[in-house]
């Protein structure tokens, strides 16, 4: 008789559905399928899909590769820490190290150009949270994640760490400059 008593009909699974339930199940099922295929559709036609290109790495190995790019393409340094600003050519591999408690180096990219951005951590988990665009990617130590990025707007972007990484977590902010497409002409 009720949900807290055993069903009165012994063969409850033969009890017919009410129309309201049947209709709703059909509608809900269709919606579920739309949502499922939407993810696949976006992989085929959308422009924002997170790369899964990943390599096992170590802090030393990753820092070495990042240092090589920094040595080659540094254009200036900023802040009291003399953080290098790296402006690699379009299409190239760029590196960003996450560590307690900064992102290193600062990058300078060009709008509309594509880069292979390598992310890894030297210590704990960190979060790559690009603001104000609001793109968020997890950074896991021991894994080198290669994300292909194409900045679509110029400006100064911040990279906020949004994975808790200890007492200095709130000071961990990095920067990416995106120069306008016309910037080179001037």
């Amino acid at each position: 008789m009720s949900a807290i008593l055993p069903p009165t009909e012994r063969l409850w699974w033969k009890h017919p559905l009410d129309r309201v339930e049947g209709t709703w199940i059909a509608i809900a099922f269709v919606w579920c399928m739309i949502m499922f295929f939407m993810m696949i559709y976006w992989h085929a036609y959308g422009k924002q899909n997170l790369s899964t290109e990943t390599y096992k790495t170590t802090p030393e190995m990753f820092a070495g590769k990042a240092q090589a790019v920094v040595d080659k393409y540094t254009v200036r340094t900023e802040t009291d820490l003399e953080t290098p600003v790296v402006a690699p050519p379009p299409g190239s591999d760029v590196y960003m190290i996450a560590r307690l408690w900064n992102f290193w180096p600062i990058l300078e990219l060009q709008q509309g150009q594509t880069y292979r951005l390598h992310l890894s951590s030297m210590d704990y988990n960190h979060g790559f949270s690009l603001q104000p665009a609001n793109i968020n990617i997890q950074i896991v130590p021991g894994y080198e994640h290669v994300v292909t990025v194409t900045p679509n707007q110029s400006g100064t972007y911040s990279v906020v760490c949004n994975e808790f990484c200890g007492i200095g977590h709130h000071t961990m902010v990095g920067r990416i400059y995106v120069k306008a497409e016309t910037g080179n002409v001037k």
């Binding site: 807290i4 709703w24 104000p132 194409t150 808790f164």
Partner: protein, 566 residues
């Protein structure tokens, strides 16, 4: 077979309590409420620190308090109460003795020792690793050991529950199939066993790592398996609180499930698919393949979402059918207008159903979409979502159930019924608002688990837009209102337990009275309109679907404006 126990029939509800089971339900529920109290006090620190103009605690204290708040609320309060629900749904609803009460007490003791040990580890400092304790960030060994002991205790509780089902079957205290609510509890217990096993697989090596017995736990594998524990434990909550929704519909309205087949089928979908949800936390991670992410995050083509959408219709639907049968048959919504809004068990459950669906459900599916996850991963949107599922969904349902249990199980009158009437509204609606503004701040990118949105001391600070500061201020205000609502619940529950007028008891016997076999009811429905038994609920469901579709595609639109990523 021990027959020394006694059975008490509650004069008010007709429910029959076995003496041992009654004590166990009581002990587990009280332990849960104590952790809710501790977690609630800690919430004050969290909320007042994230409220930018107040920014109360020091960074180290804040992270410590946040770690303890997460564990006490998400793990200890909820699982203690769930063990109480499991014993209630087996021994009480099936009217049988509880299997192996001594073992059940052992489980309870382990849970108490584990939860206290874990709390002490956090308060000592040095274990402010958040609830997730991602390696290689390490906590004290007693942090992990506490969790492991608690989990073993909870696992014992699950097996006592399964044992009790066997007792009921063997001693023939009921005939046919178990009640739907018990079936839901079985779902919760099966998911719990899977969950606890995952927790053991990853927490035992991590504990050994903290002792220096092993060298390395892979950070990514930790995340994948930890979330098979962390997310699935929230699925136990879903199964448990949906069972409570059916329970309250049955006791308040005498509502009968619209169709046993549909409701049980939906629970079955949970058992089969809900465990895949670990992927929700790995969508923006390196390492896992796209195929793995898409299949897992959608619970294999959204079958568990389908199940939740079914429950979301059938529970209010059952209430509507019951109300219409009583004559509240005018128009689409007379059944709802004439519902007992002054009964906190009903209002709590109804606020919970609506909030869980509209706030928790829609946001959960959005953020669980592979690509969309990138716009909210680790932002304060995430706690906004899970406060809608776990607090509005689970905690508020448990509160609603408590108001039913105080006279029935605790044998006390509620000390201040007028306050009890208002408590679900205060708590529920301030949580609604709390979740909404958190999601708003998260949409603007504000990070979760973050002490200072002004980034004081950072070499390259970022300036959040003014709207983000406004939202976080509103989070503070709404949070304080919700904490007040939570404090009222504690006052009403503990106060009734200590000072409430005793409810006069009559029947105690040494033998269980089996559940009488009910006569099959007439199948045909003669209420409703257009051949729909519950047209009002159907309209509500369509409103839900429209909001769902709209919000889902708005977020795709937002995603499409971002940097190209491939």
């Amino acid at each position: 077979m021990s027959n020394k126990t006694t059975y008490r029939t509650c004069p008010r509800s007709g429910l029959q309590f076995e003496a041992q089971a009654e004590k166990l339900v009581l002990a587990n529920a009280v332990a849960g409420v104590i952790f809710l109290l501790i977690g609630g006090i800690l919430a004050i620190g969290v909320v007042l620190t994230r409220w930018p103009t107040i920014h109360w605690l020091e960074a180290s204290t804040f992270y410590q308090v946040l770690t303890a708040h997460g564990l006490d609320m998400l793990v200890f309060w909820i699982i203690f109460f769930e063990i109480a629900v499991l014993y209630f749904c087996s021994s009480t609803l099936l009217r049988c003795r509880i299997a192996t009460p001594k073992v059940a007490w052992l489980g309870f003791a382990l849970m108490v020792i584990g939860s206290v040990m874990n709390n002490i580890a956090v308060y000592q400092g040095g274990s402010s690793v958040m609830m997730t304790s991602y390696v290689p960030m390490m906590a004290a060994p007693s942090f992990y050991l506490g969790l492991i002991l608690f989990a073993v205790g909870a696992l014992i509780g699950c097996f006592v529950f399964f044992g009790t089902l066997v007792v009921a079957k063997r001693e023939k205290t009921y005939q046919g199939s178990v009640p739907l609510v018990t079936f839901g509890a079985i779902t919760a217990a099966i998911i719990a066993v899977f969950t606890i096993a995952s927790g053991a697989i990853i927490l035992i090596p991590t504990w050994m790592l903290s002792l220096g017995w092993i060298e390395h736990v892979d950070p990514l594998i930790y995340r994948v398996i930890w979330w098979a524990f962390g997310h699935s434990s929230q699925q136990i909550n879903v199964a448990a609180h949906i069972s409570i929704w059916y329970f309250v519909a049955a006791v308040v309205f005498g509502a009968k499930p619209m169709s046993e087949r549909v409701s049980r089928g939906a629970f079955l979908l949970y058992i089969v698919f809900l465990q895949l949800a670990s992927a929700h936390h790995i969508l923006s991670d390196p390492g896992m393949s796209t195929e793995w992410k898409v299949l897992n995050t959608s619970y294999f083509m959204y079958f568990a979402v389908l199940a939740s959408m079914i429950h979301g219709l059938t529970i209010p639907g059952a209430m509507e059918v019951a109300q219409r049968a009583k004559g509240y048959n005018k128009g689409l919504f007379e059944w709802l207008r004439k519902a007992p809004w002054g009964n906190p068990s009903f209002s709590g459950v109804f606020i919970s159903i609506i909030g869980f669906g509209f706030l928790g459900g829609i946001s959960g599916v959005m953020m669980g979409t592979e690509q969309l996850n990138m716009i909210i991963h680790n932002t304060i949107y995430v706690p906004g979502h899970f406060h809608a599922t776990v607090v509005v969904g689970t905690t508020l349902s448990f509160m609603a159930l408590t108001y039913f249990l105080i006279p029935v199980l605790f044998k006390r009158e509620i000390i201040n019924p007028a306050l009890a009437k208002w408590q679900p509204y205060l708590f529920g609606f301030s949580m609604y608002f709390f979740c909404l503004v958190m999601m708003g701040a998260g949409t603007l990118g504000v990070a979760r688990r973050h002490w200072d949105m002004a980034f004081s001391g950072a070499a390259l600070a970022y300036e959040w837009p003014g709207a983000a500061y406004l939202m976080m201020g509103l989070v503070g205000i709404a949070g304080i209102c919700a904490i007040t609502g939570g404090a009222l619940y504690i006052y009403l529950t503990v106060g009734s337990l200590l000072w409430g007028k005793r409810v006069v008891q009559t029947k105690i016997s040494s033998e269980p009275t089996p559940i009488p076999v009910g006569a099959p009811s007439a199948a045909a429905q003669s209420y409703g309109s257009l051949g729909f038994a519950a047209p009002g609920t159907f309209v509500l469901a369509m409103v839900f679907l429209a909001s769902f579709v709209l919000y889902y595609f708005i977020n795709w639109k937002y995603l499409s404006t971002l940097w190209g990523l491939s």
